[in-house]
Protein backbone atom coordinates (compact mmCIF):
# COMPACT_ATOMS: atom_id res chain seq x y z
CA UNK A 1 0.00 0.00 0.00
CA UNK A 2 1.19 3.48 -0.83
CA UNK A 3 2.82 5.10 2.15
CA UNK A 4 0.70 7.81 3.70
CA UNK A 5 2.94 10.81 4.14
CA UNK A 6 2.85 12.79 7.31
CA UNK A 7 2.30 16.46 6.54
CA UNK A 8 5.27 18.43 7.78
CA UNK A 9 6.51 21.96 7.89
CA UNK A 10 9.33 21.49 5.37
CA UNK A 11 7.16 22.33 2.39
CA UNK A 12 5.73 25.33 4.16
CA UNK A 13 8.86 26.74 5.80
CA UNK A 14 8.66 29.83 3.62
CA UNK A 15 5.26 30.69 5.09
CA UNK A 16 6.27 30.83 8.75
CA UNK A 17 8.95 32.82 10.54
CA UNK A 18 12.33 31.44 11.53
CA UNK A 19 11.22 31.34 15.12
CA UNK A 20 8.76 28.60 14.27
CA UNK A 21 11.55 26.46 12.80
CA UNK A 22 13.59 26.95 15.94
CA UNK A 23 10.59 26.04 18.06
CA UNK A 24 10.19 29.40 19.77
CA UNK A 25 6.66 29.91 18.50
CA UNK A 26 3.94 27.32 18.46
CA UNK A 27 2.27 25.85 15.38
CA UNK A 28 -1.37 25.17 16.14
CA UNK A 29 -3.79 23.35 13.90
CA UNK A 30 -7.30 24.82 13.80
CA UNK A 31 -9.98 22.85 11.99
CA UNK A 32 -11.02 21.30 9.66
CA UNK A 33 -13.68 20.19 12.14
CA UNK A 34 -14.16 23.35 14.15
CA UNK A 35 -17.49 25.12 14.65
CA UNK A 36 -16.13 28.62 14.08
CA UNK A 37 -14.41 27.89 10.77
CA UNK A 38 -17.84 27.77 9.10
CA UNK A 39 -17.35 24.48 7.33
CA UNK A 40 -14.28 22.42 6.69
CA UNK A 41 -11.56 25.04 6.70
CA UNK A 42 -8.22 24.14 8.18
CA UNK A 43 -5.86 26.83 9.40
CA UNK A 44 -2.28 26.38 10.46
CA UNK A 45 -1.52 29.10 12.95
CA UNK A 46 1.87 30.19 14.12
CA UNK A 47 1.31 31.56 17.60
CA UNK A 48 3.40 33.61 19.95
CA UNK A 49 1.43 33.25 23.13
CA UNK A 50 -2.05 34.06 21.93
CA UNK A 51 -0.95 36.34 19.07
CA UNK A 52 -1.20 35.05 15.53
CA UNK A 53 2.16 35.53 13.78
CA UNK A 54 1.18 33.83 10.55
CA UNK A 55 -1.84 31.98 9.34
CA UNK A 56 -1.81 29.41 6.54
CA UNK A 57 -5.26 28.47 5.22
CA UNK A 58 -5.56 24.93 3.90
CA UNK A 59 -8.60 24.46 1.68
CA UNK A 60 -9.90 21.64 -0.47
CA UNK A 61 -11.67 19.46 2.09
CA UNK A 62 -14.97 20.07 0.32
CA UNK A 63 -13.57 19.75 -3.19
CA UNK A 64 -16.11 17.74 -5.15
CA UNK A 65 -14.89 18.28 -8.70
CA UNK A 66 -18.00 20.12 -9.81
CA UNK A 67 -16.20 21.82 -12.70
CA UNK A 68 -14.99 18.47 -14.03
CA UNK A 69 -18.41 16.89 -13.57
CA UNK A 70 -20.15 19.69 -15.42
CA UNK A 71 -18.02 18.97 -18.49
CA UNK A 72 -19.63 15.55 -18.79
CA UNK A 73 -23.26 16.69 -18.58
CA UNK A 74 -25.48 18.59 -20.97
CA UNK A 75 -26.11 22.27 -20.32
CA UNK A 76 -29.48 21.55 -18.67
CA UNK A 77 -28.26 18.71 -16.48
CA UNK A 78 -25.11 20.53 -15.39
CA UNK A 79 -27.26 23.20 -13.82
CA UNK A 80 -28.28 20.87 -11.00
CA UNK A 81 -24.68 20.85 -9.79
CA UNK A 82 -24.55 24.62 -9.51
CA UNK A 83 -26.86 24.58 -6.49
CA UNK A 84 -24.27 22.58 -4.62
CA UNK A 85 -21.47 25.13 -4.97
CA UNK A 86 -22.46 27.88 -2.61
CA UNK A 87 -25.19 26.24 -0.60
CA UNK A 88 -26.20 29.54 1.03
CA UNK A 89 -26.88 31.14 -2.34
CA UNK A 90 -28.33 28.34 -4.44
CA UNK A 91 -30.64 30.40 -6.65
CA UNK A 92 -27.88 32.95 -7.17
CA UNK A 93 -25.67 30.19 -8.58
CA UNK A 94 -28.53 29.10 -10.84
CA UNK A 95 -28.94 32.70 -11.95
CA UNK A 96 -25.35 33.26 -13.00
CA UNK A 97 -25.18 29.89 -14.75
CA UNK A 98 -28.42 30.58 -16.65
CA UNK A 99 -27.19 34.04 -17.63
CA UNK A 100 -23.96 32.51 -18.93
CA UNK A 101 -25.77 29.84 -20.95
CA UNK A 102 -28.21 32.44 -22.28
CA UNK A 103 -25.32 34.66 -23.34
CA UNK A 104 -23.48 31.75 -24.93
CA UNK A 105 -26.43 30.60 -27.05
CA UNK A 106 -27.93 34.10 -27.41
CA UNK A 107 -31.27 33.41 -25.78
CA UNK A 108 -33.78 36.00 -24.53
CA UNK A 109 -35.63 35.80 -21.23
CA UNK A 110 -39.20 37.14 -20.81
CA UNK A 111 -39.52 40.17 -18.52
CA UNK A 112 -41.72 38.37 -16.01
CA UNK A 113 -39.10 35.68 -15.56
CA UNK A 114 -36.43 38.34 -15.08
CA UNK A 115 -38.44 40.07 -12.35
CA UNK A 116 -39.17 36.81 -10.53
CA UNK A 117 -35.48 35.93 -10.75
CA UNK A 118 -34.65 39.24 -9.09
CA UNK A 119 -37.18 38.69 -6.30
CA UNK A 120 -36.00 35.17 -5.56
CA UNK A 121 -32.30 36.03 -5.83
CA UNK A 122 -32.82 38.92 -3.42
CA UNK A 123 -34.77 36.72 -1.01
CA UNK A 124 -31.85 34.32 -1.14
CA UNK A 125 -29.45 37.18 -0.43
CA UNK A 126 -31.54 38.02 2.61
CA UNK A 127 -31.49 34.43 3.82
CA UNK A 128 -27.74 34.19 3.26
CA UNK A 129 -27.15 37.39 5.23
CA UNK A 130 -29.37 36.04 8.01
CA UNK A 131 -27.24 32.91 8.28
CA UNK A 132 -24.10 35.05 8.20
CA UNK A 133 -25.46 37.32 10.95
CA UNK A 134 -26.55 34.36 13.04
CA UNK A 135 -23.25 32.50 12.85
CA UNK A 136 -20.87 35.42 13.01
CA UNK A 137 -22.70 36.86 16.01
CA UNK A 138 -22.47 33.43 17.60
CA UNK A 139 -18.71 33.47 16.97
CA UNK A 140 -18.38 36.54 19.15
CA UNK A 141 -20.65 34.94 21.75
CA UNK A 142 -23.94 36.71 20.95
CA UNK A 143 -26.12 33.64 21.21
CA UNK A 144 -29.62 35.05 20.89
CA UNK A 145 -29.20 36.60 17.43
CA UNK A 146 -28.68 33.09 16.10
CA UNK A 147 -32.17 31.91 17.05
CA UNK A 148 -33.92 35.04 15.76
CA UNK A 149 -32.14 34.94 12.41
CA UNK A 150 -32.92 31.30 11.79
CA UNK A 151 -36.57 31.97 12.58
CA UNK A 152 -36.74 34.55 9.77
CA UNK A 153 -34.70 32.46 7.40
CA UNK A 154 -37.36 29.80 7.70
CA UNK A 155 -39.91 32.15 6.12
CA UNK A 156 -37.68 32.56 3.08
CA UNK A 157 -36.99 28.86 2.73
CA UNK A 158 -40.75 28.29 2.87
CA UNK A 159 -41.15 30.64 -0.10
CA UNK A 160 -38.52 28.72 -2.05
CA UNK A 161 -40.34 25.51 -1.21
CA UNK A 162 -43.61 27.05 -2.33
CA UNK A 163 -42.15 27.90 -5.73
CA UNK A 164 -39.96 24.94 -6.46
CA UNK A 165 -40.79 22.16 -4.02
CA UNK A 166 -37.31 22.37 -2.52
CA UNK A 167 -36.09 24.43 0.39
CA UNK A 168 -32.47 24.78 -0.67
CA UNK A 169 -31.39 23.05 -3.87
CA UNK A 170 -34.14 24.54 -6.00
CA UNK A 171 -32.79 24.64 -9.60
CA UNK A 172 -35.77 26.94 -10.14
CA UNK A 173 -34.17 29.15 -12.77
CA UNK A 174 -33.56 27.44 -16.10
CA UNK A 175 -31.79 28.65 -19.22
CA UNK A 176 -34.43 30.75 -20.99
CA UNK A 177 -36.59 31.52 -17.96
CA UNK A 178 -37.93 29.64 -14.98
CA UNK A 179 -38.95 26.07 -14.35
CA UNK A 180 -42.55 27.29 -14.05
CA UNK A 181 -44.50 30.33 -12.93
CA UNK A 182 -44.76 31.13 -9.24
CA UNK A 183 -47.99 29.99 -7.50
CA UNK A 184 -50.71 32.50 -6.54
CA UNK A 185 -49.72 32.33 -2.87
CA UNK A 186 -46.28 33.66 -3.74
CA UNK A 187 -47.13 37.34 -3.61
CA UNK A 188 -48.79 37.17 -0.17
CA UNK A 189 -45.86 35.17 1.23
CA UNK A 190 -43.31 37.70 -0.05
CA UNK A 191 -45.43 40.62 1.24
CA UNK A 192 -45.41 38.97 4.66
CA UNK A 193 -41.58 38.94 4.59
CA UNK A 194 -41.57 42.59 3.50
CA UNK A 195 -43.92 43.43 6.35
CA UNK A 196 -42.09 41.75 9.21
CA UNK A 197 -38.45 42.08 8.16
CA UNK A 198 -37.80 45.80 8.74
CA UNK A 199 -38.88 45.45 12.36
CA UNK A 200 -36.85 42.29 12.77
CA UNK A 201 -33.72 43.92 11.35
CA UNK A 202 -34.18 46.72 13.90
CA UNK A 203 -34.42 44.01 16.52
CA UNK A 204 -31.09 42.46 15.46
CA UNK A 205 -29.53 45.89 15.45
CA UNK A 206 -30.82 46.62 18.94
CA UNK A 207 -29.06 43.45 20.09
CA UNK A 208 -25.72 44.15 18.39
CA UNK A 209 -25.05 47.55 16.84
CA UNK A 210 -24.64 49.47 20.09
CA UNK A 211 -23.83 46.53 22.30
CA UNK A 212 -20.52 47.42 24.01
CA UNK A 213 -19.39 43.78 24.11
CA UNK A 214 -20.02 43.38 20.38
CA UNK A 215 -18.26 46.68 19.61
CA UNK A 216 -15.26 45.64 21.71
CA UNK A 217 -14.94 42.44 19.76
CA UNK A 218 -15.34 43.96 16.28
CA UNK A 219 -14.16 47.57 16.00
CA UNK A 220 -10.59 47.86 14.70
CA UNK A 221 -10.26 44.10 14.16
CA UNK A 222 -9.21 42.66 10.80
CA UNK A 223 -8.62 45.98 9.10
CA UNK A 224 -7.88 46.31 5.41
CA UNK A 225 -7.62 49.49 3.32
CA UNK A 226 -9.67 50.02 0.19
CA UNK A 227 -6.59 49.88 -2.01
CA UNK A 228 -5.41 46.58 -0.55
CA UNK A 229 -8.91 45.18 -0.75
CA UNK A 230 -8.99 45.89 -4.50
CA UNK A 231 -5.52 44.49 -5.07
CA UNK A 232 -6.42 41.30 -3.22
CA UNK A 233 -9.54 40.89 -5.31
CA UNK A 234 -12.00 41.24 -2.44
CA UNK A 235 -15.60 41.76 -3.42
CA UNK A 236 -18.93 42.10 -1.70
CA UNK A 237 -19.24 43.47 1.80
CA UNK A 238 -15.50 43.03 2.42
CA UNK A 239 -14.75 45.54 -0.35
CA UNK A 240 -17.64 47.87 0.47
CA UNK A 241 -16.68 47.84 4.15
CA UNK A 242 -13.35 49.35 3.05
CA UNK A 243 -14.99 52.26 1.27
CA UNK A 244 -15.10 51.04 -2.34
CA UNK A 245 -18.59 51.19 -3.80
CA UNK A 246 -18.45 48.27 -6.20
CA UNK A 247 -21.53 46.18 -6.79
CA UNK A 248 -22.17 44.16 -9.93
CA UNK A 249 -25.85 45.05 -9.78
CA UNK A 250 -24.76 48.65 -10.49
CA UNK A 251 -21.49 47.98 -12.35
CA UNK A 252 -22.98 45.74 -15.02
CA UNK A 253 -26.72 45.40 -14.35
CA UNK A 254 -28.24 42.05 -15.28
CA UNK A 255 -31.74 40.61 -15.19
CA UNK A 256 -33.28 44.10 -15.10
CA UNK A 257 -31.57 45.47 -11.97
CA UNK A 258 -31.20 48.83 -13.70
CA UNK A 259 -34.97 49.44 -13.24
CA UNK A 260 -34.83 49.31 -9.46
CA UNK A 261 -33.86 52.12 -7.19
CA UNK A 262 -31.44 51.05 -4.47
CA UNK A 263 -28.26 52.19 -2.81
CA UNK A 264 -24.91 50.47 -2.42
CA UNK A 265 -24.07 50.96 1.25
CA UNK A 266 -20.43 51.57 2.08
CA UNK A 267 -18.41 52.01 5.25
CA UNK A 268 -14.86 53.27 5.37
CA UNK A 269 -13.33 51.66 8.46
CA UNK A 270 -12.56 48.33 6.77
CA UNK A 271 -12.86 46.33 9.98
CA UNK A 272 -15.19 43.58 11.18
CA UNK A 273 -17.71 46.10 12.46
CA UNK A 274 -17.78 47.95 9.12
CA UNK A 275 -18.54 44.70 7.27
CA UNK A 276 -21.32 44.03 9.78
CA UNK A 277 -22.88 47.47 9.16
CA UNK A 278 -22.63 47.07 5.38
CA UNK A 279 -24.48 43.77 5.42
CA UNK A 280 -27.17 45.08 7.75
CA UNK A 281 -27.77 48.01 5.39
CA UNK A 282 -27.72 45.66 2.44
CA UNK A 283 -30.55 43.68 3.98
CA UNK A 284 -32.66 46.84 4.05
CA UNK A 285 -31.77 47.64 0.42
CA UNK A 286 -32.66 44.10 -0.56
CA UNK A 287 -36.14 44.59 0.89
CA UNK A 288 -36.47 47.75 -1.20
CA UNK A 289 -35.58 45.90 -4.39
CA UNK A 290 -38.00 43.07 -3.63
CA UNK A 291 -40.81 45.51 -2.95
CA UNK A 292 -40.26 47.41 -6.21
CA UNK A 293 -39.97 44.23 -8.25
CA UNK A 294 -43.13 42.83 -6.69
CA UNK A 295 -45.10 46.04 -7.20
CA UNK A 296 -44.46 46.13 -10.91
CA UNK A 297 -44.27 42.42 -11.57
CA UNK A 298 -45.32 42.15 -15.24
CA UNK A 299 -47.68 39.47 -16.49
CA UNK A 300 -46.77 37.14 -19.34
CA UNK A 301 -44.83 33.97 -20.04
CA UNK A 302 -41.95 32.88 -17.80
CA UNK A 303 -40.13 30.84 -20.42
CA UNK A 304 -38.68 31.78 -23.74
CA UNK A 305 -40.60 30.28 -26.64
CA UNK A 306 -37.43 29.43 -28.53
CA UNK A 307 -37.96 25.67 -28.38
CA UNK A 308 -34.51 24.92 -29.75
CA UNK A 309 -33.30 25.64 -26.22
CA UNK A 310 -36.32 25.62 -23.93
CA UNK A 311 -38.62 22.59 -23.65
CA UNK A 312 -42.17 23.23 -24.92
CA UNK A 313 -45.05 23.12 -22.40
CA UNK A 314 -46.39 19.66 -21.59
CA UNK A 315 -49.82 20.55 -23.01
CA UNK A 316 -48.40 21.06 -26.50
CA UNK A 317 -46.68 17.72 -26.73
CA UNK A 318 -49.92 15.80 -27.30
CA UNK A 319 -51.07 18.02 -30.15
CA UNK A 320 -47.98 19.33 -31.90
CA UNK A 321 -45.49 17.18 -33.77
CA UNK A 322 -42.89 19.96 -33.59
CA UNK A 323 -43.25 20.21 -29.82
CA UNK A 324 -42.83 16.45 -29.46
CA UNK A 325 -39.64 16.52 -31.55
CA UNK A 326 -38.21 19.44 -29.58
CA UNK A 327 -39.06 17.76 -26.29
CA UNK A 328 -37.42 14.52 -27.38
CA UNK A 329 -34.31 16.22 -28.75
CA UNK A 330 -33.85 18.43 -25.68
CA UNK A 331 -34.16 15.62 -23.16
CA UNK A 332 -32.06 13.10 -25.04
CA UNK A 333 -29.21 15.15 -26.57
CA UNK A 334 -29.67 18.64 -25.17
CA UNK A 335 -29.00 21.72 -27.24
CA UNK A 336 -25.78 22.66 -28.97
CA UNK A 337 -23.92 25.82 -28.00
CA UNK A 338 -21.57 27.55 -30.42
CA UNK A 339 -17.78 27.63 -30.15
CA UNK A 340 -16.70 30.50 -27.98
CA UNK A 341 -16.37 31.58 -24.40
CA UNK A 342 -18.23 34.02 -22.18
CA UNK A 343 -17.54 35.39 -18.71
CA UNK A 344 -20.61 36.48 -16.77
CA UNK A 345 -20.57 37.84 -13.24
CA UNK A 346 -23.30 38.69 -10.75
CA UNK A 347 -23.34 40.04 -7.23
CA UNK A 348 -23.78 37.11 -4.88
CA UNK A 349 -24.26 37.76 -1.14
CA UNK A 350 -20.50 37.30 -0.82
CA UNK A 351 -19.33 39.31 -3.82
CA UNK A 352 -18.52 38.79 -7.47
CA UNK A 353 -19.71 35.38 -8.55
CA UNK A 354 -18.48 34.76 -12.07
CA UNK A 355 -18.80 31.92 -14.54
CA UNK A 356 -16.41 31.30 -17.38
CA UNK A 357 -18.30 29.09 -19.81
CA UNK A 358 -16.84 27.77 -23.00
CA UNK A 359 -18.77 25.89 -25.67
CA UNK A 360 -17.28 23.68 -28.38
CA UNK A 361 -20.30 23.35 -30.67
CA UNK A 362 -21.65 20.32 -28.80
CA UNK A 363 -24.34 19.85 -26.15
CA UNK A 364 -21.95 19.83 -23.17
CA UNK A 365 -19.94 22.68 -21.70
CA UNK A 366 -16.33 22.26 -22.83
CA UNK A 367 -15.15 24.15 -19.79
CA UNK A 368 -17.06 25.74 -16.94
CA UNK A 369 -15.03 27.63 -14.38
CA UNK A 370 -16.46 29.29 -11.29
CA UNK A 371 -14.91 32.48 -10.05
CA UNK A 372 -16.25 32.30 -6.55
CA UNK A 373 -16.13 35.26 -4.17
CA UNK A 374 -15.24 33.23 -1.08
CA UNK A 375 -12.03 32.05 -2.75
CA UNK A 376 -10.56 35.56 -2.91
CA UNK A 377 -12.12 36.63 0.35
CA UNK A 378 -10.52 33.71 2.15
CA UNK A 379 -7.16 34.20 0.46
CA UNK A 380 -6.74 37.50 2.25
CA UNK A 381 -7.19 35.95 5.71
CA UNK A 382 -3.42 35.83 6.45
CA UNK A 383 -3.29 39.59 5.73
CA UNK A 384 -6.33 40.38 7.88
CA UNK A 385 -5.20 38.28 10.81
CA UNK A 386 -1.63 39.55 11.12
CA UNK A 387 -0.81 39.96 14.83
CA UNK A 388 -4.37 39.55 16.05
CA UNK A 389 -5.50 37.24 18.84
CA UNK A 390 -6.91 33.79 18.18
CA UNK A 391 -10.29 34.93 19.46
CA UNK A 392 -10.24 37.83 16.97
CA UNK A 393 -9.32 35.46 14.16
CA UNK A 394 -12.63 33.73 14.77
CA UNK A 395 -14.44 37.08 14.45
CA UNK A 396 -12.55 37.81 11.21
CA UNK A 397 -13.46 34.46 9.64
CA UNK A 398 -17.07 35.19 10.51
CA UNK A 399 -16.92 38.67 9.02
CA UNK A 400 -15.57 37.67 5.59
CA UNK A 401 -18.53 35.29 5.33
CA UNK A 402 -16.93 32.34 3.61
CA UNK A 403 -18.86 29.32 2.44
CA UNK A 404 -16.52 26.41 1.96
CA UNK A 405 -18.66 24.86 -0.76
CA UNK A 406 -18.02 28.08 -2.63
CA UNK A 407 -14.26 27.97 -2.02
CA UNK A 408 -13.60 24.32 -2.83
CA UNK A 409 -16.15 23.67 -5.56
Amino acid sequence: MAQIEEANLDGMAHLVTNRAIKGETMILNMGPQHPSTHGVLRLLLELDGETVISCIPDVGFLHTGIEKNMESKTYQKAEVMTDRLDYMNTTGNNLVYCLAVEKLVDLDVPVRAQAIRVIIAELQRLSSHLVWLATSALDVAAMSAFLYCFREREMILDILELCSGQRMMTTFFRPGGLWRDVPVEFEAAVREVLKVMPGRIDEYESMLTKNPLFIDRTVGIGKISGEDALAWGLTGACLRGSGVAHDYRKFAPYSGYEQYDFEVPIETAGDVYARYLVRIHEMRQTLRIIEQALNKLPMGPVRSNNHKFVPPPRSEIGTSMEALIHHFKLWTEGFDAPKGSVYVAVESPRGELGVYLEGDGGPKPYRCHWRTPSWDNLQVLPVLSKRCLVADLVAIIGSVDIVLGDVDR
Binding site: A2, G11, L104, L230, A252, S341, Y343, Y356, Y366, Q379
Partner: protein
Protein backbone atom coordinates in the same frame (compact mmCIF):
# COMPACT_ATOMS: atom_id res chain seq x y z
CA UNK B 1 -18.29 49.79 -21.69
CA UNK B 2 -15.22 51.07 -23.49
CA UNK B 3 -12.92 48.07 -23.80
CA UNK B 4 -12.11 48.91 -27.39
CA UNK B 5 -9.80 51.81 -26.54
CA UNK B 6 -7.81 49.62 -24.16
CA UNK B 7 -7.63 46.71 -26.59
CA UNK B 8 -6.43 49.06 -29.36
CA UNK B 9 -3.74 50.51 -27.11
CA UNK B 10 -2.54 47.02 -26.17
CA UNK B 11 -2.66 45.83 -29.78
CA UNK B 12 -0.57 48.71 -31.07
CA UNK B 13 2.10 47.87 -28.51
CA UNK B 14 2.02 44.07 -28.40
CA UNK B 15 0.48 42.91 -31.71
CA UNK B 16 -2.03 40.54 -30.18
CA UNK B 17 -4.99 38.99 -31.96
CA UNK B 18 -8.40 40.29 -30.96
CA UNK B 19 -11.38 37.96 -30.49
CA UNK B 20 -14.97 39.17 -30.42
CA UNK B 21 -17.76 36.97 -29.10
CA UNK B 22 -21.17 38.06 -27.78
CA UNK B 23 -19.89 41.56 -27.08
CA UNK B 24 -16.84 40.42 -25.12
CA UNK B 25 -13.44 41.52 -26.38
CA UNK B 26 -10.51 39.28 -25.68
CA UNK B 27 -6.89 39.78 -26.62
CA UNK B 28 -4.73 36.75 -27.45
CA UNK B 29 -1.07 37.34 -26.72
CA UNK B 30 2.15 35.33 -26.72
CA UNK B 31 3.25 33.60 -23.55
CA UNK B 32 6.49 35.58 -23.14
CA UNK B 33 4.60 38.88 -23.34
CA UNK B 34 2.36 38.07 -20.37
CA UNK B 35 4.24 40.04 -17.72
CA UNK B 36 4.64 43.14 -19.89
CA UNK B 37 1.03 43.09 -20.99
CA UNK B 38 -0.24 42.61 -17.44
CA UNK B 39 1.93 45.45 -16.21
CA UNK B 40 0.53 47.64 -18.97
CA UNK B 41 -3.03 46.62 -18.08
CA UNK B 42 -2.40 47.55 -14.46
CA UNK B 43 -0.98 50.91 -15.53
CA UNK B 44 -4.04 51.58 -17.66
CA UNK B 45 -6.13 51.51 -14.48
CA UNK B 46 -7.44 47.95 -14.18
CA UNK B 47 -7.34 47.64 -10.40
CA UNK B 48 -8.78 44.17 -10.10
CA UNK B 49 -7.89 40.75 -11.37
CA UNK B 50 -11.23 38.98 -11.45
CA UNK B 51 -10.31 35.54 -12.60
CA UNK B 52 -7.68 33.25 -14.05
CA UNK B 53 -8.55 29.91 -15.51
CA UNK B 54 -7.34 27.50 -18.13
CA UNK B 55 -8.90 25.41 -20.88
CA UNK B 56 -7.36 22.15 -22.04
CA UNK B 57 -7.65 21.43 -25.79
CA UNK B 58 -6.24 17.89 -25.59
CA UNK B 59 -5.31 16.08 -27.93
CA UNK B 60 -4.21 19.27 -29.66
CA UNK B 61 -0.62 19.76 -28.53
CA UNK B 62 0.50 23.19 -29.64
CA UNK B 63 -1.05 25.05 -28.00
CA UNK B 64 -2.66 22.54 -25.68
CA UNK B 65 -3.83 25.03 -23.06
CA UNK B 66 -5.31 28.47 -23.17
CA UNK B 67 -5.09 30.54 -20.03
CA UNK B 68 -7.93 33.04 -19.68
CA UNK B 69 -7.49 36.15 -17.52
CA UNK B 70 -10.24 38.62 -16.66
CA UNK B 71 -9.44 42.14 -15.48
CA UNK B 72 -11.86 44.75 -14.17
CA UNK B 73 -11.47 48.48 -13.93
CA UNK B 74 -13.76 50.36 -11.57
CA UNK B 75 -12.31 53.72 -12.59
CA UNK B 76 -12.95 53.19 -16.32
CA UNK B 77 -15.98 50.96 -15.85
CA UNK B 78 -14.53 48.29 -18.11
CA UNK B 79 -13.67 44.62 -18.21
CA UNK B 80 -10.95 43.04 -20.28
CA UNK B 81 -10.18 39.44 -21.23
CA UNK B 82 -6.73 38.10 -22.00
CA UNK B 83 -5.87 34.70 -23.45
CA UNK B 84 -2.46 33.11 -23.42
CA UNK B 85 -1.80 29.91 -25.42
CA UNK B 86 0.53 27.46 -23.69
CA UNK B 87 2.04 24.32 -25.33
CA UNK B 88 1.40 20.85 -23.91
CA UNK B 89 5.07 19.92 -23.42
CA UNK B 90 6.40 21.40 -20.17
CA UNK B 91 3.56 23.90 -19.87
CA UNK B 92 4.72 26.92 -17.93
CA UNK B 93 3.90 30.57 -17.59
CA UNK B 94 5.24 33.50 -15.58
CA UNK B 95 3.48 34.51 -12.38
CA UNK B 96 1.62 37.80 -12.24
CA UNK B 97 1.45 37.65 -8.46
CA UNK B 98 3.78 40.66 -8.21
CA UNK B 99 1.25 42.82 -10.06
CA UNK B 100 -2.02 41.39 -8.74
CA UNK B 101 -1.44 39.67 -5.37
CA UNK B 102 -4.66 37.68 -5.55
CA UNK B 103 -3.23 35.74 -8.50
CA UNK B 104 -1.44 33.64 -5.88
CA UNK B 105 -4.21 31.13 -5.18
CA UNK B 106 -5.59 31.17 -8.71
CA UNK B 107 -2.17 30.23 -10.09
CA UNK B 108 -1.84 27.51 -7.49
CA UNK B 109 -5.19 26.22 -8.75
CA UNK B 110 -3.84 26.18 -12.33
CA UNK B 111 -0.82 24.23 -11.14
CA UNK B 112 -2.99 21.82 -9.17
CA UNK B 113 -5.75 21.26 -11.71
CA UNK B 114 -3.85 21.53 -15.01
CA UNK B 115 -0.21 20.92 -14.09
CA UNK B 116 0.90 24.24 -15.50
CA UNK B 117 4.20 25.30 -13.98
CA UNK B 118 4.07 28.88 -12.70
CA UNK B 119 7.54 30.39 -12.91
CA UNK B 120 8.57 32.61 -10.04
CA UNK B 121 5.53 31.82 -7.88
CA UNK B 122 6.16 32.34 -4.18
CA UNK B 123 4.20 29.35 -2.88
CA UNK B 124 3.60 26.77 -5.60
CA UNK B 125 1.83 23.93 -3.79
CA UNK B 126 -1.31 22.02 -4.59
CA UNK B 127 -4.32 23.84 -3.23
CA UNK B 128 -7.49 21.78 -3.66
CA UNK B 129 -6.14 18.26 -4.05
CA UNK B 130 -4.06 16.53 -1.34
CA UNK B 131 -0.35 17.32 -1.61
CA UNK B 132 0.56 13.75 -2.65
CA UNK B 133 -2.10 13.45 -5.38
CA UNK B 134 -1.06 12.10 -8.76
CA UNK B 135 -2.27 13.71 -11.96
CA UNK B 136 -4.14 16.91 -12.67
CA UNK B 137 -7.94 16.47 -12.54
CA UNK B 138 -9.13 19.13 -14.96
CA UNK B 139 -6.99 17.91 -17.85
CA UNK B 140 -9.11 16.31 -20.53
CA UNK B 141 -7.11 13.06 -20.43
CA UNK B 142 -7.82 12.60 -16.73
CA UNK B 143 -10.49 9.93 -16.21
CA UNK B 144 -13.81 11.00 -14.72
CA UNK B 145 -14.98 8.62 -12.03
CA UNK B 146 -15.94 4.97 -12.56
CA UNK B 147 -12.82 4.00 -10.69
CA UNK B 148 -12.51 0.86 -8.65
CA UNK B 149 -12.49 1.76 -4.97
CA UNK B 150 -9.29 0.71 -3.28
CA UNK B 151 -9.27 -0.71 0.22
CA UNK B 152 -6.34 -1.57 2.43
CA UNK B 153 -6.44 -5.30 1.58
CA UNK B 154 -6.54 -4.88 -2.21
CA UNK B 155 -4.86 -1.51 -2.71
CA UNK B 156 -1.81 -2.77 -4.62
CA UNK B 157 -3.76 -5.29 -6.68
CA UNK B 158 -6.14 -2.61 -8.03
CA UNK B 159 -3.40 -0.01 -8.28
CA UNK B 160 -1.67 -2.04 -11.02
CA UNK B 161 -4.61 -1.85 -13.45
CA UNK B 162 -6.06 1.46 -12.38
CA UNK B 163 -5.82 4.16 -15.04
CA UNK B 164 -3.97 7.26 -13.91
CA UNK B 165 -3.44 10.36 -15.93
CA UNK B 166 0.21 10.09 -16.83
CA UNK B 167 2.17 13.29 -17.04
Amino acid sequence: MNEQTFISALKSQFNGEQLEFRGESTLVIQRDQLLDVTRKIREMGFERLSDITAVDYFPQENPRFHLAYQFTSLAHHATLGLRVPVPGVNPSVATIEGIYPNANWRERELYDMFGIQINGHSDLRRILMPHDWEGHPLRKDYPLGYEEPQFTFNFDEIDVRKPYAKD
